[in-house]
């Protein structure tokens, strides 16, 4: 008997799940619904805390419920791409600007008209949120790397990379430091993101720009003479032991916090740990390696509206007039530590010297390319940097082979 009732229980559960699953499979929206008065927003846990208050305010002002669904940030992009076509996706997501090309390529994101408000945001944030001349997202934060310097070891900010290495090597020779310069690299993939400013300084960006000032995937500029110069630079620094692909991000952070190196090329996320370790630090512009300024990639985060949202007016209202306000941008900055994208909130946040210093470096930065072709770049770029740093072949030959490989992948897709 016991067995029997258990089996009945099981079948109850099974059938319920089955029917709900079947109902879930059914394509929705065959009968077009008008706005439901509910906005569904996918956010990560940190952002959810802030958005909860904004949502309550929105409900009070406009009578529209905002349903917050907390998701892992890393899952949002792919889940959004697969769920929007089913009509079951959210109205709004939080995301990173470099997802944009992929979202547009898959037709899941709707353009956003910021009107005159566009001027209230940092230029780099608006450029990052634009793709082929259209603006798509409401930015809320900007983030970039800079040079973290141990003031006790190196009292002067180096202007060039050679100065930095010379100062570092003098300290190593004197026995007060172990590493002249630290940057976290992966043994199999190096770290093109962190090394990019040094590459940009040679005048070799990844993609050229179109007439709108956004990235043009048909203009791959890695292979310019500056790229060859950068490849030779990597080989030299690799041979000298300045760059070491066995020093991962974690090891670099640990060693810098132990006071074993005067310089650490990293982002704001590693600053709290350095402060906690008692390092007397300063945040400097990234030293140049070539004729151009060493411009880091700027990462922008923001909110996007679904192309299939039935609530476009409400979603637009929520983004532009609620999430785009100084109070909300400041609240998002306080919970995430990333500098606000809204100028007025950014100016207020600059009372924190770290934010001001990173912001100053980022002001010269370029947005990380958001074109889908970037997917074809990362893997080859990293593998080749590893090979060059470890001097497994002629740097220029390796670099040009990488450019040819990337170009052929872009042409094929």
């Amino acid at each position: 008997m016991k067995v029997k009732s258990r089996s009945i229980l099981a079948v109850g559960a099974a059938a319920a799940v089955a029917l709900l699953a079947l109902a879930g499979c059914a394509p929705a929206g065959e009968t077009p619904e008008q706005g439901t008065g509910t906005l569904t927003v996918w956010v990560d846990a940190d952002r959810a805390a802030v958005l909860k208050d904004v949502a309550a305010q929105f409900k009070e002002d406009k009578g529209i419920t905002v349903k917050l669904v907390t998701k892992d940030f890393g899952d949002i992009r792919d889940d959004f791409i697969t769920q929007v076509p089913t009509g079951k996706g959210p109205d709004i997501i939080v995301g990173a600007h470099d997802w944009l090309g992929k979202l547009v390529q898959n037709g899941v994101v709707a353009p956003l008209e910021l009107g005159d408000k566009a001027g209230d945001f940092q230029d780099v944030a608006i450029t990052a949120m634009s793709f082929e001349g259209q603006t798509y997202g409401l930015p809320y934060s900007v983030e970039n790397i800079a040079l973290l310097r141990n003031v006790d070891l190196a009292p002067e900010a180096p202007a060039t990379f050679d100065e930095a290495v010379a100062a570092g090597q003098a300290l190593v020779a004197a026995g007060t430091a172990t590493y002249p310069f630290l940057v976290g690299l992966d043994p199999n993939a190096a770290d093109p993101y962190h090394l990019y400013p040094l590459q940009a300084s040679f005048g070799a960006p990844v993609f050229g720009l179109d007439e709108n000032g956004t990235y043009d995937a048909s203009k791959l500029e890695l292979g310019t003479p500056g790229g060859d110069a950068f490849a030779q630079f990597l080989a030299t620094q690799g041979a000298a032991g300045v760059f070491n692909t066995n020093i991962t991000g974690d090891i670099a952070k640990e060693e810098f916090n132990a006071g074993k190196s005067p310089f650490f090329l990293t982002g704001p996320w590693n600053v709290p740990a350095a402060a906690e370790a008692g390092i007397n630090y300063a945040i400097d512009p990234i030293p140049t390696t070539g004729p151009d300024p060493a411009t880091p990639f700027v990462g922008v985060q923001g909110f996007f509206i679904s192309a299939k949202s039935e609530n476009t007016l409400a979603a637009n209202e929520f983004l532009v007039n609620y999430l785009g306000t100084e109070a909300v941008q400041t609240a998002l900055y306080e919970v995430g530590g990333r500098a606000p994208a809204l100028l007025s909130a950014f100016d207020a946040a600059k009372s924190n010297p770290d934010v001001a210093a990173f912001g100053e470096v980022g002001a010269n930065g370029v947005p990380m390319p958001n074109v889908p072709a970037m997917d074809a770049v990362w893997a080859d770029w990293g593998t080749t940097e590893v090979a060059i740093i470890n001097n497994t072949g002629d740097p220029v030959t390796l670099w040009q082979a990488m450019v040819a490989s990337i170009q052929s992948k872009i042409d094929a897709s």
């Binding site: 079948v11 709900l20 109902a23 394509p27 390529q105 043994p187 020093i247 090979a387 094929a412």
Partner: protein, 522 residues
């Protein structure tokens, strides 16, 4: 127990049983009716039919006396159908489509998306004040331009100047006699309609049209692409280039330029042809398949050898502290594999890892970055992760072999090695062989360890393909599907998945045949 005693018990409990059954079946049916109703409203007839059939079948099975096997099997079969068969068939179907980046949804969605993204705001055009009006269900835009002049227009009705509009304090027109002004709540309840309205500025469509993102401001847009529904083509308004449906799930121009996004179409065997045909994939494919077999076979052989050896050692009653050792041996199995992967990653670091620094006194061995050493490292870690499992099953199998056999052999004068080779090992293999085949299938698709340790690397940067020295088929498929190279291509990845399924199935069938022969031998 006699039948006299059992009978009343049975009747009492079957009353409770019937009650439980009715309640549970009632809940199921209630949910079913709700689901069916929703499906009916959505007019998804196929799913409606399946759901109805499943509900009727379940009611029939549980209400009819008898049918005991069906009563036991029904829940499992329902779950199997949803979570296994449906998933397998669906991946099979995906393998015959071009589903992936740029081909994500239907053609209808693609057309809508292209139209939406081709709306470009006219450079330096002003923002217009807007009030949305309603007259007998027809929506009109009451527009105030920056000079304070007021116009009225609607979908396909160009702007026309009006003079009798009422204005608010800022000079923005907010009402017109004969029309109802829509409040924000009204706008929200009709937002899809209002967001889709575009009001031509003049009779000339090239002057652009006004659209509103928020219901209170309108902006002037021109379209860079115009869709012709009759001809099913897009025309670039600047260059005059015509883009037609090229049959590959996208609009292409005469010179082959594509408009993104495209849409999902069936492509037949094209993905399988690509898996075998394109040099970019075929080149690494052979090497990867060879390494996948080597990895799976060596993993099973090494873990089984070590596990069996330890099982034999700890199965000997002369061994002291067996219980303690056995627990210690299970530990690697008890840790989450992901965690172990990360720990080993640190241990193997060339300059800072424990293995080079401490065990090998500061040696400089590139464990994870040299082609062959990386393969060896992956096998070592997999051995560490896998031997406790083999130890467990071998211990169990050894303990089930009767001691009499060993004793009889000893009495007959067999030496320990002969006892093991001729008696214990064949008997052991009968019960363990199916598990070895399962272990082979598992290691064939052992994604975690490769992903955590080497990510498939090291890779030869001059090879031009994304396959590294330790890439298994499954990690290669992952790279193809989730785009570390050229964007996600679910169609191609599903085709690979089917090929992997066929390989594993063939190996398993052969393996099980051999096992059967083994059983007959005994």
């Amino acid at each position: 127990m006699t039948s006299v005693l059992t009978r009343p018990t049975r009747e009492r409990s079957s009353l409770t049983g019937i009650l439980v059954k009715i309640v549970l079946l009632g809940i199921v049916d209630a949910l079913a009716v709700f689901a069916l109703f929703t499906l009916f409203m959505q007019q998804s007839w196929l799913v409606f039919g399946i759901a109805l059939a499943v509900t009727l079948a379940l009611n029939f099975i549980y209400l009819k006396p008898g049918l005991l096997p069906a009563k036991y099997l029904a829940p499992g079969i329902v779950f199997l159908a949803i979570f296994q068969i449906f998933v397998v068939l669906y991946s099979g179907y995906i393998a015959f489509t071009n589903y992936g980046d740029g081909h994500n949804s239907t053609k209808e969605d693609a057309v809508t998306a292209i139209i939406a993204r081709s709306q470009e705001r006219v450079p330096d055009s002003p923002a217009y004040g807007l009030t949305v009006l309603d007259q007998l269900g027809q929506v009109s835009f009451l527009v105030t331009d920056p000079d304070g002049e007021v116009f009225l227009g609607g979908q396909d009705r160009p702007l026309d100047e009006v003079t009798n509009a009422g204005t608010d304090g800022t000079g923005k027109a907010d009402s017109l006699p004969g029309y109802t002004t829509l409040t924000f709540q009204d706008l929200i309840s009709r937002q899809s309609e209002i967001a889709s309205i575009s009001v031509p500025l003049t009779d000339d469509p090239n002057d652009g049209a006004l659209r509103t993102p928020d219901g209170s401001t309108a902006y002037l847009y021109t379209s860079t692409f115009v869709y012709d529904e009759q001809a099913d083509t897009f025309t670039d308004t600047e260059s005059g280039e015509v883009y037609t449906d090229g049959g590959n799930g996208s609009f292409v121009s005469a010179d082959g330029t594509e408009i993104q996004p495209g849409w999902k179409i069936d492509v037949g065997f094209a993905n399988f042809a690509r898996a075998f045909g394109e040099e970019d994939i075929r080149g690494p494919l052979l090497g990867v398949v060879a390494w996948t077999f080597a990895f799976a076979i060596l993993s099973v052989a090494l873990t089984f050898a070590l596990g069996l050896f330890l099982a034999l050692v700890f199965n000997d009653w002369r061994m002291k502290g067996r219980r303690f050792y056995r627990v210690a041996i299970i530990l690697p199995y008890a840790f989450p594999g992901f965690l172990s992967g990360l720990v080993w990653l640190g241990l193997f670091n060339q300059d800072f890892g424990f293995i080079n620094q401490v065990l090998l006194f500061g040696a400089d061995i590139p464990w994870l970055t040299h082609e062959w050493l990386a393969k060896a490292s992956v096998l070592i870690v997999n051995l560490w992760l896998g031997f406790p499992y083999m130890f467990l099953i071998c211990t169990g199998a050894l303990q089930s072999i009767p001691d009499e056999l060993t004793e009889a052999a000893k009495v007959d004068g067999a030496r320990p090695w002969s006892v093991f080779r001729l008696i214990k090992f064949p008997l052991l293999l009968v019960s363990v062989a199916p598990l070895l085949i399962a272990s082979f299938a598992y290691n064939f698709n052992n994604f975690n360890i490769i992903y955590m340790l080497t990510g498939g690397g090291p890779r030869n940067p001059e090879a031009g393909v994304d396959a590294g020295a330790t890439d298994l088929l499954i990690t290669l498929v992952y790279k193809v599907a989730f785009g570390s190279g050229t964007g996600r291509d679910y169609g191609l990845a599903s085709a690979f998945a089917i090929l992997i399924f066929i390989i594993v199935a063939v190996v398993s069938v052969i393996g099980f045949r051999q096992t059967k022969a083994l059983e007959e031998l005994n």
